[in-house]
């Protein structure tokens, strides 16, 4: 996805075991923070046609 130009921070992967509540909350904060920095996503978003496409 990055290859086609999606910002790196729009996709996050992590491994958190069921015991790692702290890590979960931390990662959640980081993810939210990074995405906020990026601003609203414009890529890959389907613009649904609402009226004549012309």
């Amino acid at each position: 996805m990055e290859f086609v130009g999606l910002e790196e921070d729009r996709l996050h992967f992590s491994w958190i075991s069921s015991a790692e509540a702290v890590k979960f909350a931390d990662v959640a904060k980081q993810v939210a923070e990074k995405v906020k920095v990026l601003g609203p996503n414009k890529k890959f978003v389907k613009r649904y046609p609402t009226k004549d496409t012309e």
């Binding site: 729009r10 996709l11 992590s14 491994w15 958190i16 979960f24 959640a28 939210a32 996503n41």
Partner: protein, 66 residues
């Protein structure tokens, strides 16, 4: 920018991160409210279709956690 509240679709593994999220609740750890969780049986279930679809539908980010 402070107004901007992204919507982040999170796919959480039932056995790992979903449990961690539950536990975070038990422990009352506060974290941002931007996540909309979809419980999946295992991160192996995660298909590229879901990433694409989430973004297509206007999610600002996707978070997959196992």
């Amino acid at each position: 920018m402070s107004e901007y509240e992204p919507k982040i679709v999170s796919f959480l593994c039932n056995w790992c991160s979903y449990g961690a999220a539950d536990l975070a609740g038990v422990s009352r750890f506060q974290y941002p409210d931007n996540f909309r969780v979809i419980r999946i049986p295992c991160t192996g279930r995660m298909s590229p279709k879901f990433f694409l679809s989430a973004l297509r539908e206007g999610a600002d980010a996707v978070w997959v956690s196992g």
